[in-house]
């Protein structure tokens, strides 16, 4: 057998602080339904389960992403042998028999299947199976408290490849500069970056820097924190070029009774001078429990084999996952068209402001902002609206399964699905591809990235700051000890997920870009057309958006109809609030009708071998390449041609 069980296997490209706990040579991994299998070594480390194919090219030490599972991503581990009942392995109930097969059910819809045909190696198989069960539990217990691998340091600067575009242009929103740069790009006059939360003392779960109205002093801003749950005050997310503002906030604190001075500050923050204010709550969106339930059902439905079932479509409908996708898209489309249609501000309000607000805020920007649809733009978007905004990734993705199973809800995966729907509906408007979304989907379970390990910036700050892209781990020779620490202690220095070079080859990364995408990196933003002045100066009209309708709504502290500016002066202006009927060209309006919302086959049905194929279909790219080639030829010929 060429597997060469005892012999040389490619060296395992370990992570810093990663220890191989147990390994079983002579294992085989089953490939798909076709029946083939690959020999190799099954490894269990303190971070993941990995399979090193015996003869895998391994040229660059790059572990093929399909050959490994991060421990937290393992959903169920089942062992079986011909002499005993199959058994679900947990740390508490260990294996009592020699396993012949291991089935690993993953949270990311994969199913890995190993078996150990050589009887001589039974003890190894036994040990590795138990080790996985133990390690998984241990990894889950660690959870947020990402243990800092000691002794690891910055890797040597390697010549390797030039800067990855992907990560170099991503704004991580950890420095003041990033916030300022982005605010400038948005052209949001009337807004400024406030460092009031720099020490996380105002609101622990909020980022250090907030976008607030320029007219509001930090001193006044401080008065508002107490009136919102988790002290998460309204702040700007996005500014539409024609003047609309998108804000997000937690609910009003039920117990707060602002005094008149506080009311002044609150209204300056919420209403400002920016036209009517629309409150959009999450009432029509699925709850966290709904999302979790739907995701579980979907996972069950998409296991290989289940798809052959009759009544599959009804079952799909029964999961309600697509319903949830639709309601999110619908909400986002409503908000986006409000913003595009008229100068107003929309405040997204969710009790905690940490889950569905992230989702809706990012979707609205995808719909309205062409920049967010470029690859770096999308990465920055996720960084700002999810990571910096304090989405509790570890709890929601169930990476901490022991403590809080109730809090698991794949909101982020729902967002990726929504994004995929948009991508599928508007293939020519996105700078990235399905392959990119898939990579992001799979990486969200990966514990080797700082991006999804923390619940908020503050927590991340406690664990240290991630490296700049130039300092990240290179897959070449693993982490290397070189020199000392740089610039003080860095307790945790996992790279952000945007450092795609770690897990994906250059070729694969090239597939992240959509050759049919919008021309140019990002079209230059039309300088905000402030053509629509708010008809009523000082009017404080507050509406809520519910069931596709707007309805007047008083703020909680308004006991009686508040003072309002007289709208009568506006009636003279013919445009009025009507404005231009034509939505701005960059606006995407997705269709949320049943036939238009689809199942993300390549993500959920990846158990089917045929779904794998064409995943990174090179057709368009090939055409574009040929075109380039021909043009080059022509050019050279023209040069050579004697005149």
């Amino acid at each position: 057998m060429s597997g060469a069980p005892g012999g040389r296997r490619p060296t395992f490209p370990g992570l810093p602080g990663e220890r191989v706990l147990e390994e079983a040579a002579g294992a085989r991994r089953r490939c798909g339904n076709g029946g083939g299998s690959v020999p190799g070594t099954l490894l269990c480390t303190n971070r993941r389960l990995a399979f090193l194919a015996g003869q895998a090219p391994g040229s660059r030490g790059l572990l093929r992403s399909e050959d490994e599972v991060a421990l937290p991503c393992i959903h169920k581990l089942v062992a079986a042998s011909s002499f005993s009942k199959p058994k679900v392995l947990t740390a508490a109930s260990t294996l009592k028999f020699i396993p012949e097969e291991l089935a690993v059910f993953c949270r990311d819809f994969r199913l890995l299947h190993f078996y150990f045909p050589e009887s001589g190696r039974a003890p190894q198989a036994f040990r590795v199976a138990n080790a996985i069960a133990q390690a998984r539990e241990a990894a889950a217990r660690l959870g947020d408290a990402a243990e800092a691998p000691d002794g690891e340091t910055t890797p040597e600067e390697e010549e390797e490849e030039e800067e990855e575009e992907g990560s170099s242009t991503v704004l991580l929103f950890e420095s003041l500069r990033d916030w300022e740069k982005e605010l400038q790009r948005l052209g949001a006059a009337g807004w400024r970056v406030s460092a009031v939360n720099e020490r996380f003392d105002m609101a622990p779960s909020l980022p250090q820097y907030l976008w607030v109205p320029s007219g509001l002093l930090d001193h006044d801003l401080k008065r508002t924190f107490g009136h919102f749950q988790e002290r998460r005050v309204p702040r700007l997310c996005w500014h539409h070029p024609s003047g609309g503002d998108l804000l997000r906030a937690a609910s009003f604190h039920p117990a707060s009774e602002p005094g008149s001075e506080d009311v002044r500050c609150l209204e300056a923050l919420l209403l400002g001078d920016r036209g009517p204010c629309v409150l959009a709550d999450t009432a029509e969106l699925p709850t966290l429990a709904d999302i979790q339930l739907a995701h579980l059902r979907l996972r069950e439905l998409c296991l290989p084999g289940a798809v052959a079932e009759e009544k599959w479509l009804s079952a799909l409908e029964g999961t309600r996952w697509l319903d949830h996708v639709r309601s999110c898209l619908r909400k986002a489309a409503e908000v986006a068209s409000l913003l595009a249609g008229k100068r107003c501000s929309v405040v997204l309000q969710e009790p905690s402001d940490r889950d569905l607000n992230c989702l809706v805020a990012s979707l609205v920007q995808l719909l309205g902002d062409p920049h967010a649809r470029s690859l770096p733009g999308f990465q920055s978007l996720v960084q700002r609206e999810w990571v910096a905004a304090g989405h509790p990734f570890p709890r929601r993705l169930g990476l901490q399964c022991q403590d809080s199973p109730r809090e698991e809800a794949p909101v982020f995966l729902l967002f990726l699905d929504c994004t995929w729907q948009l991508l599928w509906q508007f293939p020519a408007d996105f700078g990235f591809t399905e392959a990119f979304l898939l990579a992001l989907h799979d990486s969200s379970f990966s514990p080797y990235f700082s991006t999804f390990r923390f619940s908020c910036q503050r927590q991340r700050g406690h664990s240290g700051t991630p490296r700049l892209p130039s300092q990240i781990y290179r897959p070449m020779g693993g982490w290397q000890d070189a020199g000392g620490h740089r610039g003080g202690p860095q307790p945790c220095s996992f790279p952000p997920v945007w450092a795609w070079g770690r897990r994906y080859s250059r070729q694969q990364r090239e597939q992240f870009r959509n050759p049919a995408g919008p021309p140019g990196p990002t079209e230059s933003r039309t300088p905000g057309t402030p053509a629509d002045p708010c008809p009523w100066r000082g009017a404080s009209l507050v509406l809520t958006l519910a069931k596709g309708s707007l309805c007047a709504h008083p703020l909680p502290w308004w006991g009686r109809p508040p003072w309002r500016g007289s709208p009568s002066d506006s009636q003279g202006t013919p445009g009025g609030l009507l404005g231009t009927c034509q939505p701005t060209p960059g606006l995407l309006l997705p269709c949320t009708a049943g036939p238009c919302v689809r199942l993300w086959h390549r993500c959920y049905l990846r158990g089917l071998p045929q779904e794998q194929r064409g995943r990174l279909a090179p057709l368009l790219a090939g055409l574009a390449e040929e075109l380039q080639l021909l043009q080059d030829h022509l050019h050279t010929w023209n040069l050579q041609r004697p005149h």
């Binding site: 490939c31 076709g34 083939g36 020999p39 169920k76 199959p86 097969e101 059910f105 199913l111 045909p117 069950e300 439905l301 296991l303 290989p304 084999g305 798809v307 052959a308 079932e309 009544k311 479509l313 009804s314 799909l316 409908e317 619908r330 489309a333 409503e334 068209s337 595009a340 249609g341 509906q425 293939p427 020519a428 408007d429 008809p535 309708s549 707007l550 309805c551 007047a552 109809p561 309002r564 709208p567 009636q571 609030l577 009507l578 034509q582 939505p583 606006l587 995407l588 309006l589 269709c591 009708a593 049943g594 036939p595 238009c596 089917l608 045929q610 194929r613 021909l630 030829h633 022509l634």
Partner: protein, 770 residues
């Protein structure tokens, strides 16, 4: 007969007034009213300031809109001041115009159509966007006092609204309230009579058209028509079936049967007597030969006989036939009685009737009402399941031919319905020639048109009997679409091609889909047409696409990404085929014997329920079933890279069978994406292809001679306007983008003085919103 235009004076400027208002959405009755509910009440309000008498007073005729008539087309009746709703979405938007009925079509002529200067990129020259051919009318409903009633035959009362459902899934809503009563009578009864009542074959427009505009094209088309013996011989040679099969002339003069084509192919050992004995029944007729020599045959079965002795004789006859064609040189024979292994025609018709109902949307309220249960409704129609079963059957047949090297004999009562579906599908899957445009057309010609599929009865073109109706050909197109959609580079044509082909079923200027058999066509072609003095009719064939489309539009029928087959000479073809099936990059070892793999399954039942519910069982099960050659064939093919010029197997798992969105959703504005859909990239690909081609041309020129002048002319790029996902079928100019929240609401809010006091009052944004 009264053909003249009703002497109704028109004044454009006056007429524009209400029409304009309507088109832009009449101002909502009152700020804040529910548009959805208030719509009906609002309807008549806009005419109130113009009394009917005024119409007569208004004088000079500025411009008369005349229908564009084809040669041989006669205007039968017409009505003016008909109001056509753009889409019955409760918003009342629409246009005024004239409704006419000719012996070819029902047509609505609005003012725009006369002065339309922006030509759409994709336009059918024969059937315009407001034309409905008489054969395309599915059902007509009249609305009486808000109640819908199906209109057939004689009418006693005339409706105020007319709803026409078309077979290509368009829905037209006409309001007749402002039309003169006599015109209403004439037009409604005219339309119902000409489109819904039984007709004689000779009254089909086909004949008037053919005598008025004889087909003068030389008919030299790449499509093989299979009307001559040579065509069949060539086909035999192409598939190398000529060793064991022969084309026979026995049916010349239709001596054998009127249902069989003039020429057809049978095994060499079949004698002429046996063909003649039972009018061709019980005779295996050749469809196609596979590269390994195995052949696909079809046979029409004997009807169930009461008489014992006759059935004994028939059985003996059949046994004799089987014996002859089962011994060498013929391969083993497998028989498949399609009438028992596939859904009946009745089932197919029922399923399709239910299925199309999902897309014949009266108004958007209905649409959103069904939307919630979309998937289960879709499933309950059973249409996708039928498609899946048909595809599965085709895979079975392909497996027998390809792997088991057996001949397959498809049996069906007349061998002209499901036999055609399966044999065509098998050829599309196995013969890459059938995936080119001309190959596919030849295939339709061979199996369907000449093969004797009863288009006239199955489409119920003559309204003779509803019982015979069954969308068999549409079923084939739906199945082929699944393949096109799963493997786009393998097909020279696009889904748009299939869509326009399905529409052409109802355009009676082509003979292709308007006869039951070659015999019927031949007899009617030459028959009693002497009085026209023009000799036999010369019909057009649908394959001449330039009749319907301009070259610009034709570009959308061709797949720019078709992986064209390299053209090696014949000897090399075989090696080329194998080259494509390269090895997987991973070292695979053959599967372990299945005995070993079974254990996981047997004992896991209990466990599996505990883990994730019973479905896992199927996963573990899926590879461990008792040796199932079909499943193995399917799985092993799917685990290899696709060779676009080799065998192509559709994926038939539940999630893989999809709705042919282009055909079925194209008229539904709610499903429209502005700037989205597959067309968004398709347009880019077309641009790229054109650029590549033009560059290639330039390079060739450079090679051959030195060209003077500047070579750098900017490549012509398609205008990069954002298309709708429903392109090329949507009526773009009408339906401008509709934001999810219409901005007009703001106006209402603005006007509202004491909005805050009305805390609990909802301001509905739009009746049709989500």
């Amino acid at each position: 007969m009264r053909l003249g235009v009703a002497a109704l004076p028109r004044d454009r400027s006056f007429r524009c007034l209400p029409a304009r208002d309507e088109r832009w959405g009449a101002p909502p009755p009152r700020a804040g009213a529910m548009l959805g509910g208030g719509a009906r009440a609002a309807k008549p309000s806009f005419v109130s300031y113009i009394s009917p008498e005024e119409i007569h007073i208004k004088e000079p005729i500025e411009k008369e809109v005349n229908p564009h008539l084809l040669p041989g087309e006669l205007l039968l009746c017409e009505a003016s001041t008909v109001y056509k709703y753009v889409q019955e979405d409760g918003s009342n938007r629409g246009t005024y115009g004239k409704l006419v009925c000719t012996n070819f079509k029902i047509s609505f002529l609005d003012d725009d159509s006369a002065s339309d200067d922006n030509e759409p990129q994709f336009k059918n020259k024969i059937v315009g966007e407001n034309d409905i051919t008489l054969q395309c009318v599915d059902q007509i409903y009249g609305v009486y006092d808000e109640k819908k009633k199906l209109l057939t035959g004689q009418l006693r009362k005339y409706p105020e609204k007319l709803i026409i459902y078309c077979k290509d899934l368009r829905v037209f809503n006409f309001c007749l309230r402002y039309t003169k009563e006599e015109e209403v009578k004439r037009i409604v009864s005219g339309i119902v009579h000409h489109s819904q009542t039984p007709k004689l074959l000779k009254r089909l427009f086909l004949f008037s058209y053919a005598s008025a505009a004889p087909n003068n094209t030389d008919g030299r088309n790449q499509t093989v028509m299979f009307e001559t013996l040579e065509d069949w011989r060539d086909e035999l040679e192409r598939t190398k079936g000529n060793v064991k099969y022969k084309a026979v002339t026995t049916n010349e003069g239709y001596r054998v049967s009127e249902k069989l084509p003039l020429y057809f192919v049978v095994p060499i050992c079949i004698s002429e007597e046996s063909i003649l004995k039972y009018e061709g029944r019980g005779i295996p007729i050749w469809c196609w030969s596979c590269h390994n020599g195995a052949a696909l045959l079809k046979m029409s079965a004997f009807p169930k006989e009461q008489d014992d002795s006759t059935s004994q004789m028939q059985k003996a006859f059949l046994d004799g036939i089987y014996k002859t064609i089962s011994k060498p040189p013929y391969e083993l024979l497998k028989m498949d009685d399609l009438s028992s292994s596939l859904p009946s025609l009745q089932d197919i018709q029922t399923a399709y009737t239910r299925f199309k109902q999902l897309f014949l949307i009266d108004n958007s309220t209905d649409f959103w009402a069904t939307d919630v249960k979309w998937f289960s409704l879709l499933e309950s129609t059973n249409w996708l399941e039928i498609i899946r079963r048909v595809l599965k059957k085709a895979i079975e047949v392909a497996e027998c031919l390809e792997i088991q090297h057996t001949n397959v004999l498809l049996i069906e009562e007349s061998a002209t319905d499901l036999c055609c579906v399966i044999s065509s599908l098998v050829q599309v899957m196995m013969d890459s020639y059938s995936r080119t445009k001309s190959g596919f057309q030849s295939l339709i010609q061979k199996e369907w048109v000449i093969g004797g599929h009863g288009f006239l009865d199955r489409c119920n073109h003559l309204h003779k009997s509803e019982k015979e109706e069954a969308p068999v050909f549409l079923l084939l197109l739906n199945c082929v679409w699944q393949l096109v959609q799963q493997y786009p580079p393998a097909f020279e044509f696009t889904e748009t091609y299939l869509t326009v082909l399905s529409d052409s079923l109802y355009v009676p200027i082509f003979s292709t889909f308007f006869f039951n058999s070659q015999h019927q066509r031949d007899t009617n072609k030459s028959g009693e047409c002497l009085k026209t003095q023009s000799g036999p009719f010369r019909f057009l064939t649908v394959w001449d696409w330039s009749v319907q489309f301009d070259p610009k539009a034709l570009a959308f029928l061709n797949n720019p990404l078709y992986a064209e087959k390299p053209k090696p000479d014949r000897s090399q073809r075989k090696t080329a085929r194998f080259k494509h099936q390269r090895q997987l990059s991973l070292p695979l070892t053959p599967a372990k014997p299945s005995t070993k793999r079974g254990f996981f399954r047997e004992e896991t039942d209990h466990l599996i329920k505990n883990i994730l519910g019973k479905r896992i069982g199927k996963f573990i099960n899926s590879s461990d079933e008792p040796p199932n050659s079909l499943r193995e064939f399917y799985d092993s093919w799917h685990s290899k890279p696709v060779d676009y010029h080799g065998l192509l197997l559709p994926r038939i798992d539940g999630p893989e069978i999809k709705v042919w969105a282009q055909r079925y959703l194209r008229w539904i504005p709610e499903a429209q994406l502005h700037g989205g859909g597959t067309i968004a990239t398709a347009a880019k690909i077309l641009d790229l292809m054109e650029e590549v081609q033009s560059l290639q041309v330039k390079m060739d020129e450079e090679h051959s001679q030195s060209v003077s002048g500047d070579v750098h002319s900017a490549p012509m790029l398609r205008n990069s306007a954002r298309l709708s996902s429903l392109f090329p079928f949507a009526l773009l100019q009408r339906q401008s983008v509709k934001p999810a929240l219409p901005t007009s609401t703001w106006k209402d809010l603005e006007d509202e003085d004491d909005l805050v006091k009305r805390d609990d009052e909802f301001v509905d944004l739009s009746g049709d919103m989500l």
